[in-house]
């Protein structure tokens, strides 16, 4: 293994990205840096014991993750292909690297040619570097295992082969971190082009052998981005997701857990405990009543939401880890262009179907403020989250497929309308798509499972307090008579304009806290099909969850958040009213 060679070779280049580390180092700080989608997050999770996203999609770490390792601070920097000032991720990573005491450069051993561009920049900063040659198993299988010893000699820093998702090589990596040292590599040229060439030369020395052809994977990688293979593949994949989440779990499993386990076993049990303790009056109502903290909230969160959300994240993890998502982004790029977005925006939108809040956070990976605004607006106006969808599907399915179809058509129309209008209104142009397509690969079961559990847990943690708060508010209003007052106040709007029963105003209160909660509130009201359709369209277009609004305010400023919030009131009730008129005119509203 290499020894240290002193700090003489720092800063070979003269471009802005390779300046010598400024003296604002943080004692002991370890920074994980690397290209997107190389397994940094898996290494971070293993070392720190904290969870970070692992996926086969570039850009999942949009914010630096902080953790601890052996009393030292450990930061997982956003993935970048190079250092510099050109994007948010680059700026964050570059700044972190300059503050680091040690940089762990995670590289994809199977695609080292690309990764060495950043590696040479990192070594040139003069900060002690260790290279984790990750995914070494994949490189071996493709016959392109890099010569680690040769790479060490060339760069002058320790190089450790690892398979992060299996925990292989991480002990050795930990040992290497302790003896990290500044490298000896320096680049004679200074521009990107010279660096690219140098990286390619270095690659030729480290991986002299030819890659083995893996015919099926290669065919799949190519076919999936053509129209005649790609479109059927997407359709099949989405049908699979629908079958798993929408049919198996939403209808069969949840039917069992919600009714049998929740309403028939858990709720009576909670009430009997309350009676045994001797609770009565308003307190009993708030705790175990119709909207009780220990009855409805628990049933909804544990027996309805949890299985749904887990199923959705499981399906999503498969799509992500197989490398399918960026290919979907490529195929839909043209279509999203109509909405003023490029293909990349499909990621927040798909995530939004899981949880709008999470989708809103992911709009960060879009490159301009314009695109972030459009995507955020779409998510918060017209994308129902999985929890909401499940309730909606359950409610409408009872009336027959035509009603489900009508609902889907209206919401899709709204999506297109909102996108098109914003595209016209907002100044600027859509940025063109430029996205790397990772190789297609079998998702690793361990990684998929861990991701499902962790994301599901994240969602529950996020949703539960808001949900409980919402239940509490409704219970208190119910007990104090405030609910009556609210219903009377909204009566002209609900009854006069939307042709709905006055009690649906109750769902609107709940919808103010969470939309899925609002949809759930419509469940037992005995609505006619037409009323259910109107009510669900209003609830879907209605204000986003409190959590989403908070994220929006944080990401885009309070003004945008307030505008979108107020806008949803107008749009939801306007569209709902018009729909009610049309249904009456068609003669189906009776």
């Amino acid at each position: 293994m290499s020894g240290c060679h002193g700090n003489s070779a720092a800063g070979g280049g003269s471009d802005s990205s390779t300046v010598v580390a400024p003296p604002l180092q943080e004692a002991g700080l370890i920074v994980l840096a690397g290209n997107p989608n190389v397994g940094k997050s898996a290494i971070f999770s293993h070392l720190s014991g904290t969870y970070a996203e692992v996926s086969n999609f570039p850009g999942t770490t949009v914010e630096a993750m902080h953790g601890k390792w052996r009393e030292r601070s450990l930061v997982d920097a956003p993935g970048t292909y190079g250092l510099g000032e050109h994007s948010e991720e680059e700026r964050i990573t570059t700044d972190l690297v300059h503050r680091a005491a040690t940089v762990v450069n995670v590289v994809d051993a199977a695609h080292l040619d690309r990764d060495l561009f950043l590696t040479t920049q990192l070594v040139e900063t003069g900060v002690p570097v260790v290279i984790a040659l990750n995914l070494i198993d994949e490189a071996r299988r493709s016959g392109v295992e890099p010569d680690a010893a040769q790479l060490e000699r060339q760069l002058g820093v320790p190089v450790v082969p690892t398979v992060a998702v299996k925990g292989e090589g991480l002990k050795e990596l930990a040992a290497a971190v302790e003896r990290a040292c500044p490298g000896t590599w320096s680049l004679k040229g200074s521009d990107d082009m010279a660096r690219r060439r140098a990286a390619d030369e270095l690659y030729a020395q480290v991986v002299p052998q030819e890659r083995q052809r893996r015919r099926f994977a290669e065919w799949l990688g190519r076919a999936s981005v053509t129209l005649h293979w790609g479109i059927p593949m997407i359709t099949l994949a989405l049908a699979g997701v629908y079958f798993l989440v929408g049919v198996l779990v939403a209808q069969n499993l949840v039917g069992f857990t919600e009714v049998r386990m929740g309403q028939e076993m858990w709720e009576p049990f909670a009430r009997s405990i309350a009676d045994w303790v001797g609770l009565s009056g308003p307190i009993r109502e708030i705790l175990v009543g119709e909207f009780g903290l220990f009855t409805m909230t628990v049933t909804y969160i544990v027996f309805l939401l949890a299985p749904l959300v887990a199923a959705f994240y499981f399906a999503l993890a498969l799509l992500e880890d197989s490398g399918f998502l960026p290919r979907i982004a490529t195929l839909v790029d043209r279509g999203l262009g109509v909405l003023g977005l490029n293909g990349r925006a499909v990621i927040p939108i798909i995530l939004g179907f899981g949880c709008v809040t999470m989708g809103t956070i992911t709009t960060r990976l879009l490159s301009t403020k314009r695109e972030k605004t459009i995507a955020t607006a779409l998510l918060n106006f017209a994308i129902p989250c999985s929890a909401q969808l499940a309730v909606i599907a359950a409610l409408l399915a009872g009336f027959g497929g035509a009603w489900v179809f009508a609902y889907a058509l209206i919401i899709f129309g709204m999506l297109v309308a909102v996108g098109t209008v914003l595209d016209r209104l907002l100044p600027g142009k859509t940025t063109p798509l430029l996205i790397e397509l990772p190789p297609m690969r079998w998702p690793r079961p361990g990684a998929v499972l861990r991701k499902t559990l962790n994301k599901g847990y994240w969602f529950m943690q996020e949703a539960t307090p808001w949900f409980a708060a919402g239940a509490l508010i409704v219970s208190v209003l119910h007990v104090t008579g405030g609910l009556e007052l609210w219903q009377r106040g909204l009566r002209p709007l609900m009854v006069g304009w939307l042709d709905l029963p006055a009690e649906t105003a109750r769902a609107i209160v709940m919808g103010l806290v969470r939309r899925d909660f609002g949809a759930a509130g419509l469940y037992d009201m005995g609505l006619t099909p037409a009323q259910a359709l109107v009510a669900l369209v209003v609830i879907t277009l209605f204000v986003p969850c409190v959590a989403s609004i908070m994220v929006m305010a944080k990401e885009h400023g309070a003004r945008t958040a307030t505008r979108i919030w107020a806008g949803t009131w107008i749009v939801a009730f306007a569209v709902g009213g018009i729909l009610a008129r049309i249904l009456t005119w068609l003669g189906v509203a009776s």
């Binding site: 690219r196 960026p326 790029d333 293909g343």
Partner: protein, 72 residues
């Protein structure tokens, strides 16, 4: 001509990338000026997918027009 007009299955050499941001990004990804690449897919009115050394990158149609090539 632009790489958007190169038929699928053709190998070609990137001569110039007119858009500076795209030039930076593509250079980092290993699709720099002077690189030999293969066009593996063209979505109608949509992105063009390029491959080099088993790695693929998709670029929007507008951008593809600005990637100038010579066919071999």
């Amino acid at each position: 001509m632009g790489i958007d007009r190169v038929p699928v299955g053709t190998c070609t050499r990137i001569e110039a990338i007119e858009d500076p941001t795209a030039r930076r990004e593509l250079t980092r990804l290993g699709f720099e000026e002077g690189a030999d690449v293969e066009v593996i897919s063209r979505i109608p009115y949509g992105p063009v997918v390029l491959q080099r050394r088993h790695r693929q990158v998709a670029i929007g149609r507008e951008l593809a027009r600005q990637v100038r090539v010579t066919t071999k």
